[in-house]
Amino acid sequence: MKTLTKKTISAAVVASLVGLSSAAHAFTACQVTDIGGVDDKGFNATAWKGVQDAVAKHGIDSKLLESKSETDYMPHLGSFVAEGCDVIVSVGFLMGEATATAAKENSNSKFSIVDFAYNPTIPNVVGQVFATDQAAFLAGYLAAGVSKTGIVGTFGGINIPPVTVFMDGFAAGVSHHNEMKGTSVQVLGWDPSAKEGLFTGNFNSLEDGRAFAQNLYDEGADIVMPVAGPVSQGSAALAAELGTDNLMIIGVDADQYIKDAKNKSVYLTSVLKAMDATVMGVIESVMDGSFEGGLTVGTLANNGVGIAPFHDLSSAVSSELAAEIESIRSGIIDGSISVN
């Protein structure tokens, strides 16, 4: 028994040495997810897709660490530094402080964080932020035009800027519709002036997603935009039971028609953040040596944000409404329409 254990140990040591030497030569892009996990069908998943796209295109290596709790952020980032990752992508506003600390302690490593902008910027970190309100504005306008009850709803995960920016844009889009068309569509769940609204307090309870959508539906909303990562799948399940005549869902982050295939028919559209494109962009900048700390901003103009096709529900959107949305899109890009 004893010799067997000794053999196992020595074999393990050898394996680790082999592992270290093989990791040394390739380019490795590493990602730390926040507590939503890589299968959140939202921003963690989309950012990871960016890493995977880079793997497919350039034949680099990739590594992933999923955080189970907030205490994981620092050691996860530290593990990747020790692992010699060429670029470390951290996902989410909640990792902002941990990423800044890790970047300052390891000034030779390169970092990039989705959804966080540092002021002042840190020389070895690229913050990736998105003018999500521009795309959510289009979704709000669309929802106001499609709603039959004249009431639409939204709710968020936690009251933090990357979440509420969706809700701000959505509410602004609805009021733009009201101004233009003389309608009086109401938004439930978010008050853009008081910065208060409905929040589940988490990014993982599908039960909450269902309950919050049910509440909004009971109050008369027939279109709901949940901004809470995988929580929205609970809302979509409710909409699938009620039928799209009663409740439609607007997805966020990625095209939920593709991501949440089980209930895809309930998604009127999705507010897209092209994190995959920006993450891949950052990886490529490290590869070709043009990496520079600072900020990248995704907008409608550079296709960093947008809205997804209407898919199964395109019959609910009149061609007139679709055309108006196109003209608003160009209005936002040329600056003639303000989303605030």
Binding site: A11, V13, E70, T71, D72
Partner: protein, 369 residues
């Protein structure tokens, strides 16, 4: 159920085979079955080998690995000591999570609000206030049990839920919330209330902090309390046979409240340890379900302080090693949860272990017959 659990998880004396061999083989079998899970999910043999060797190297293979193992084990052991102590006295304390949250919140408030104390006063104050609030919070369940007979399992679970919501609420109050932030996050504690890092002279990134030493001291203290004091004897008697204890003149009501008070103090210390040693501030979910994992640690450690110490170190090693396993082999960290659960299953069914390796437990099995 209590009797069954007591028989399985409370060990009166240090029986080497019972305390050491069963857990070691349970761990070995759990790892073996974990390997089958990996095969079933389509991992190749080579990758499984990499996964398990990284689990080993990531927990014991370097100074940083050891530092991470100890850092992860410390709060688990604090909280598990409280659960084990209550268990000895016949109380099933499911509320360590809530007591940890309350203790951590109290420590964070002391940590950022008092700015005139030197470190040797401020740090002990933050830790003891954390322990005191955890203790008071747990006493609620003890008092409810003693005065009304409310079952402590139900009341501690409910107190957990209250603590979680209270944390959400308090993190938004202007006194506690960090300036300029909309999300629920507390102010950072001052340097004078932070547990000093022990190995920063080697590498500032080694996170091992003085909480580890406090924990070791606490393990000895609880051992002494349990086996060498009158109070400890009263705890154990109440747990072994409440009626006999009553007729022997032990005040059950007082004992119940006192046990919960001490159990809560230990859980509160776990929370304060995380705040002052690792996180530096509170946020929703800072307790990271350590209070629940600690139940498993207490059971695995047979509710014996020394057993709890080793069980906690094992769980800490699984957490730290799981990280490297994820990095090197790309295996989901959920495997660690599966392995932890399997270990508990094997501990709960020691006969399974004995039958699987009969030559080790030869005499015992003969004795049983």
């Amino acid at each position: 159920m209590m009797d069954y659990l007591k028989k399985k998880f409370v060990s009166e004396h240090l029986d080497v085979k019972e305390i050491l061999l069963v857990p070691i083989f349970a761990t070995f079998f759990a790892l073996t079955i974990g390997c089958l899970f990996l095969l079933a999910t389509g991992e190749g043999l080579k990758n499984i080998f990499i996964a398990y060797s990284s689990l080993f190297i990531g927990s014991l293979g370097s100074l940083n690995a050891l530092s991470e193992t100890f850092t992860a084990a410390t709060p688990l052991i604090f909280a598990a000591l409280g659960i084990a102590l209550a268990f000895r006295a016949g109380l099933f304390n499911i509320g360590a999570e809530g007591q940890m949250i309350i203790g951590g919140m109290a420590a964070v408030i002391v940590g950022f609000s008092i700015d005139f104390l030197p470190v040797w006063l401020h740090l002990p104050l933050a830790l003891s206030v954390g322990a005191l609030f955890g203790a008071m919070y747990a006493s609620i369940a003890g008092w409810l049990k003693a005065s009304t007979g409310a079952h402590e399992v139900i009341s501690t679970i409910m107190l957990n839920l209250i603590a979680i919501r209270l944390l959400d609420y308090m993190l938004r109050s202007p006194i506690i919330q960090k300036e300029g932030r909309n999300d629920p996050i507390s102010k950072s504690v001052l340097n004078t209330s932070e547990l000093p890092q022990l190995l920063s002279f080697i590498d500032p990134q080694l996170r091992l902090h003085a909480g580890f030493l406090v924990m070791l001291g606490t393990v000895l203290l609880i051992y002494w309390l349990l086996f060498h004091t009158t109070i400890g004897y009263e705890f154990r008697s109440t747990g072994a046979n409440p009626n006999a204890a009553k007729y022997a003149g032990i005040k059950a009501t007082f004992t119940i409240v006192l046990v919960m008070f001490i159990a809560g103090a230990l859980a509160g210390l776990a929370g304060a340890n995380q705040i002052t040693g690792v996180l530096g501030r509170a946020s929703p979910g800072f307790s990271a379900s350590i209070g629940f994992d600690a139940i498993a640690v207490a059971l695995l450690g047979r509710s014996h302080p020394i057993g709890v110490l080793f069980a906690g170190l094992l769980f800490g090693a699984l957490i730290a090693g799981g990280r490297l396993m994820q990095v090197k082999a790309g295996v989901s960290v959920d495997l660690i949860t599966i392995i932890q659960a399997l270990i508990i299953v094997f501990i709960a069914a020691p006969l399974l272990v004995r039958r699987a390796v009969p030559w080790i437990f030869k005499e015992d099995i003969k004795k049983d017959k």
